[in-house]
Each structure stands twice: as C-alpha cells, then as structure tokens.
C-alpha cells in the first residue's frame, strides 16, 4: 500500500484545515473511540474520559499533532515516527487492533467537521495515510 502523489496532496490539504483545531477535533475523535469501542478505554484508566475533559483535549491534540508531523514527512515515515514507534512497542504496547478503531473514529470526526472536503478520494487518502502511520507505530512490536 503506497501513497500516490494525489493521496499526499489530499492529506496535506486537509491537514491544513485540521491543524488549527487539534485539541477539539482530537478530543472528539478520542471520545468517539471510547464511546463506540469500550475496550479501548482499558489503556486510559488514569484519564478523565468524560466528554471535553482536559485529559482528552491534551491527548487528542497530541495524537493529531503526531499525524500532522507525519503529514510533513510522508516520504520518510519510519524515521519521522521512530521515537513514537519505540514508545508504542516497548512502553505503551497498545494492541494493534486499536489503531484501526482510532482510524475509524478520526475519519468519522473529519467527515462530520469537513463534509465538503472528505470526499471518497480524501477518505481513501486518509485511510491509507493513518494505516501507514499505524504500521510504523506497530513495526517494532515483535
């Protein structure tokens, strides 16, 4: 699975609109994740998971911020995400299935906030993009 030039352009374009709202959008994506997929909460027993909590805003911003970082290094994701990859492999050890659940939650959030931009082509690009990022983050698991 590779990102075409068109995919990369779509990722960068939508990131431009997301970058100013990473806290709100990130918090919403996480809350959707926890509401729809209760098993994902097992990694956040130390968080206040109520809607709009400071924990969700802070962490949501961190997650989307990392995607933004990835968006500006689309030609070298393994290097750009190396530290995060180590973190997930040796420290966090989030079961790989959860990356797909978070990807879905992020996509629903993006579709709801940017309905005109989240065309089927944009969805395809972002699905591939987040999948590529997830692949790097789980690449050192074993």
């Amino acid at each position: 699975m590779t990102l075409t030039a068109a995919d990369k352009a779509l990722v960068v374009a939508l990131w431009g609109k997301i970058s100013g709202q990473t806290e709100a959008l990130g918090a919403e994506a996480l809350f959707r994740l926890f509401t729809c997929f209760g098993q994902s909460k097992t990694y956040f027993s130390h968080f206040d998971l109520s809607q709009g909590s400071a924990d969700l805003k802070r962490h949501g911003a961190k997650v989307l911020g990392a995607l933004g970082e990835a968006a500006s290094h689309l030609d070298n994701l393994p290097q750009a995400l190396s530290k995060l990859s180590d973190l997930h492999a040796y420290n966090l050890r989030v079961d790989p299935a959860n990356f797909q659940l978070l990807s879905h939650s992020i996509q629903v959030t993006l579709a709801a906030h940017f309905p005109a931009d989240f065309t089927p082509e944009a969805q395809s690009a972002w699905d591939k993009f987040i999948s590529a990022v997830s692949g790097v983050l789980t690449s050192k698991y074993r």
Partner: protein, 147 residues
C-alpha cells in the same frame, strides 16, 4: 446475539429518518469501491468501474447501494431475530456470490462515515455507538450462514 436497547433502536431509527437512504446507500457503495478497490471483484457485471469518476456516476452502483442500505434499514424491524431475518441473504452471499464477510464490515464502516458527513454534529458519539452496534449486528447476522 447482540441485543439493542429501546434507546439504541430509537437512535438508529432517528439516523434513518434524517438521511436519504437511497442516496446514502449509493454513495456508500461507490465509496467502498473507491476506498477499497479490491472490492470491485464482486461487481464485474456493473460496467465501468475503472476510475473514481466512473464509479461515482455508475447507475448500477447507485441502485445496488440503495438496495443494500434499504435492506439494512428494513432490518431494524426485525432486530430481535436478525439471524433468522437474514438467513436467506446470508446463504446467498456465501453460496452464490462468494463474498468474504470482511467486506460487510468494510461497508458498515463507510456507511457510518457517510452518516457523519451528512448529519455532522447531530451524529453524536452516543448516536454513532448505537448505529454502529446495529450495523455490527446486521453484519454478524449476514455472516452467520457461512460455512
């Protein structure tokens, strides 16, 4: 078996009342064929699926998507026995159409995203949870007859 509460059924019903099922179904099937191109293998008789534009304007895709989502909507009336309700369709998809049940989950995921795109903030996390639980129950029922 998945049980939907009365409140969850109400949420699902509300979603279907707020979207144009035919249009959403058509758009969702088109999106499936665009986002997951390998799914085109099941639609060789549908004519031109060679580009995003061709897919988006393909009348057979629109019609079939409408039919599929209409069947999903109608299943809400049979939520207490989805396995029985979908027994024939499950058999059809397994024995005659040879569709991997993984595709049902892919389609359901896309439907949820398109609902979010249509309903925007009205598709709250809570409503999304109810609706996706219903879609899960439908896809499970459709896969039940496989062997």
């Amino acid at each position: 078996m998945v049980h939907l509460s009365a409140d969850e059924c109400k949420d699902v019903s509300a979603v279907f009342s707020k979207v144009n099922v035919d249009q959403l179904g058509g758009e969702s099937l088109a999106s499936l064929l665009i986002v997951y191109p390998w799914t085109r293998r099941h639609f060789k008789t549908f004519g031109n699926l060679s580009s995003t534009d061709a897919i988006l304007h393909n009348a057979k895709v629109q019609a079939h998507g409408a039919k599929v989502l209409g069947a999903v909507r109608d299943a809400l009336k049979h939520v207490a026995n989805l396995g029985g309700h979908f027994a024939h369709l499950s058999d059809l998809h397994c024995q005659q159409l040879f569709v991997d049940p993984a595709n049902f989950k892919l389609f359901a995921g896309i439907v949820s995203i398109r609902v979010g795109q249509t309903m925007r903030q009205a598709y709250t996390p809570h409503v999304q949870a109810s609706f996706e639980k219903f879609l899960d129950a439908v896809t499970d029922a459709l896969a039940k007859g496989y062997h």
